[in-house]
């Protein structure tokens, strides 16, 4: 016979999610988003240098807003000599569905161009509303990608790079380094028997 308290304890134990799996150093999912020093300063800089600029002059910067546009850009981005570095601003603390942002850090690491992930503080998503090129509020899913080309202020880029920690390297996403020698055998099975 079990008391009510025991039953409650049992159910609480059953509901407990196993978190250590996310902290293991190989995959390191707990630190997939980089750390930001002075989030308020970064948000203010982003607001004045990116979102306000885009709102008043949409053609001033090469920007891609919204999930589909960002994903498409990152997937076809070229390697460094041709592809300029990009800044990817993500409102990951706002109520954006988790499944939408789940692959973004992975994509940023896999992309061939240099991607600086900039997580923005809570409540910033409202500033992105006017930047989507005529799309309504919420059409951007909290994602804005800006290419660092001629129109982009280099001073601002330097400031951002200083404050946003580099995304931690994930060994499982570095394909060339992680590859072990799995090569098909050149010696046929039948040849040995014939010789």
């Amino acid at each position: 016979m079990s008391s009510l308290k025991q039953l409650q304890q049992k159910s609480a134990r059953r509901k407990q999610v196993y978190r250590p799996i996310l902290d293991n150093p190989y995959t390191d999912e707990a630190h997939s988003w980089p750390r930001v020093q002075d989030p308020a300063v970064v948000a203010e800089l982003t607001r004045t240098h990116v979102t306000e600029v885009l709102r008043h002059a949409p053609d001033a910067l090469e920007a891609h807003c919204g999930f589909n546009a960002v994903v498409a850009y990152l997937q076809r981005a070229a390697a460094p000599p041709a592809g300029a570095p990009v800044f990817l601003f993500v409102c990951n603390r706002d109520p954006v569905p988790g499944v939408v942002l789940a692959q973004i850090p992975v994509l940023a690491r896999v992309a061939r161009c240099e991607v600086v992930l900039v997580p923005l503080p809570r409540g910033f998503i409202a500033h992105l509303d006017g930047c989507g090129g005529g799309r309504g509020a919420g059409g951007h899913q909290g994602l804005l990608l800006v290419v660092q080309n001629g129109g982009f202020d280099p001073h601002f880029a330097e400031q951002l790079r200083q404050r946003v920690g580099h995304a931690t390297r994930s060994p499982w996403l570095e394909f060339v380094a992680a590859r072990v020698g799995v090569v098909p055998s050149e010696v046929g099975v039948g040849r040995k028997a014939s010789s």
Partner: protein
Amino acid sequence: MSLNRQQRERFTATHIAYKYNLLHYLPGIEQSQLSGLYLKSFYNGTKRNRLHLPEHLTNGTKFCEKCGVVHIAGLNLNMAIVDVMASDDESVHNQVLEYKCLLCGKVKQFDIGNSKRIESQQGPREGFVAKWPSGQKTSHDAAEVNGSQVKKLASGKERAKKRKMNTLANMLSRKKDEEANKKSASLNLEDFLLKR
């Protein structure tokens, strides 16, 4: 060999982490055809140790539900947000996130909760959407429906707020405010004119 609790937990952690890491190792060595086997083994391990995994590991976000490969966007996964017509109402478009595994071709849709109406529709639809918190209907609800104006029921918080506003002290203060307003209104030009 019997382990004490701490040893058992450590063993579980290393055991599960090993299986989990193996799964992530496979795309790097281009042996993704094994991932279904490894994923099954990982799930079996968590089941044996009675662990509850975070939701994104089990709902098809992280691993493909058919072939078990770790999703890596751009490498073995295509993803896009698409509009899908709701089955019951064709004027409502639901936004869903579509994952397509490039290895096995499995398409998985996640509802991301954004629904939008087509703009061309004339005026707001006077439809009745059943959103009862519980199954029972009260006569109060029925009366509201009959009035052809479906009002959203005030939530408990709002009702509590209303109740709080109706206390005696609040009513007195409101009356005081009104009187004060009247006094200040006497500075109006009209009031001066009326007096003279």
